[in-house]
Amino acid sequence: MTENVLELLGALLLLATFRTVATRRLDGYIEAFVQQSVVLAAIAAVVGWATGTADLYVVAALTLVVKAGVIPVILRRVAAELPTERGVGTLIGPPASIVLSLLLMGLAFFATPSVAVSGTLLNEPPLAISVGIVLIGLLLISTRRHAVAQLVGLLTMENGLFSGAIAIAYGLPLIVEFGILFDILVAVVVVGLLVTLIGREIASTDTSELTRLKG
């Protein structure tokens, strides 16, 4: 039963991740990220319930508050302050991105070593899904030009890692998880500030214009 629920949630997590590469609108990135975080919180709660780890409930609640609550608000504010002409520039379009993401996902399933240890919930821990999400996050960072989209890529990577932590080790010690979430929050605030500064300085947050430093 739990196994089926977790598999379903894993699929939903993947779906939300694919939404980030499929979208053209800035809002789309943020919505997809919220979706991803909500699913992640659900996974934490279910694993916590199945294994009787109370810590994971706290992790789930924190994830909801920070990643589905505070961070999207900040991202929207940053996005609103920045001039965006006609959607979000991409080096490769959504269709090609989806194909690439599928390939990355295949690579993840193929390359992730089976590190299953007896006593885990699923015989084959969904580590490959986490690795795949991390790779898709990297893809976003390297192919999207808008700073907010790159930021969502970074957060996607982090979500992938979080899901991995929950999948293989039922999460890290609570204080560490707490610190990491706090850190991510601060990171988003700080990077948001920097993005705004850049926006004011060059009146465009297209990072492909940041190419003066070479050699």
């Binding site: 590190v115 204080i175 601060v186 920097l194 190419t211």
Partner: protein, 489 residues
Amino acid sequence: MTLALAIALCGAAVSMVARRRLVEAVAILVPLVQLALMVGLASQVLRGGTVREVDGWLAADSLSVIVALLTTGIAAAAAIHSVGYLREDMRGRDIDQGPGLRDLRRYYLLFHLFVFTMLVVPLSNSLGVVWIAIEGTTLTSLFLVSYYRTREALEAAWKYVIIGSVGIALALFGTILAYYAAVPVLGLSFDLNWSSLAGVANRLDAGVMRLAFLFILVGYGTKAGLAPMHTWLPDAHSEAPSPISALLSGVLLNAALYAVLRFYSLAVPSVGTVELNGLMMAFGLLSIVVAALFILRQADYKRLLAYSSIEHMGLVSVALAFGGPLGITAAMLQLINHALAKSLMFFSAGHVLLRYETKEIDQVSGTLRALPVSGAFLLVGGLALAGAPPFGLFVSETAALAAGFRAGWGPAALVVLAALVVIFIAFVGHLSRMAFGRPPTDVALGEPLRIGFAPLIATGLGLLMLGLVIPGPLQQLIDGAAKVLGAGS
């Protein structure tokens, strides 16, 4: 340890509200007190082994103490340099009130926080906290890198935060894997402390630890400036104000490398040295070669120093990979010497930049005449950095090469030797062009910053001393660190 971390935060609080003179005084005082505390900690470690505080959240052994001493020492020198540098840099602006004072306070606030996060790295016991602190170093130094708010500085800061965060994310994965490897041994609820992991390191699953170390090496290696993840480094180091460049090169890279070394020490008992050293060797050699190529055709002297940092981080990795007591000792010495030499270079290069107002090597000439003291330090420091005797780097580099040949890494050692020769020639060429000749007519003569002599002399003397003799206590600390890193096992 607790006190040293606490006063950094107090210093940060004071810098937000105090008058200018008090802000400057606190900026210098705090790292000096921290340095004194770390010397005390070092003697404690030498007497009784690993020291723990605050319920085991903080812990220090020989390896941590070496890094912590360097952190606070270089921070103290950089603070003194900052006071002079900023006064000169902001001449013509009112720095006692209004926006000038606000900029100054912001600088010192971030300075304290930056040093705080870098000091947490070696002193923290929990590997999770180490991760948080290293991410913290990116966030606190980000606005120091973009301090000048020029287009180039903002570009450097953006690159720094994005590449750094990707690296950090990979390191988080490595940390999670290490936790996962330990769960079967220590149970689900242990707190990820290296001091508890070290005791059971030989019982961890080798496959998982190998994967964990690979992610850690690539992740923290990004922050440590190892090629090919080094691309943020030359930009950030050259665009930041010079005292911050010194901190980035002399302290931040060490902090990141410390995290790699800590995981190395935890992975060696299960995975064995052969594979781990192979990885360190690959990244180290690539860094040295890439750095050598860029140093050869560099036109900007701050970027020149930045690439030299990549080279030296590579050298530390390679020396460690050569292995054996000699190799590991050479690696630790190299770490210390590089921190001293590089901060010395960025301090004197900062004086040159203030006077000449250009970073182009071609447009700087006659620094010996225009700036008799800083110019001389720039030239001599450059020779030391390139590995000339009688300075510390000559000793550590020859030791590393000897370790390499002895351990049967002949071809690799030859590559390193060739790169060192190339870098030496390029460095002497670049620096003599800057030092000799006539200064341009529009450049004023004479030293503007007497207060900035102190850090130059301090780091210079340290470098000279380490070239002639290694003091007993330091030798003991290095031996201790070598034991932590698996020498003799």
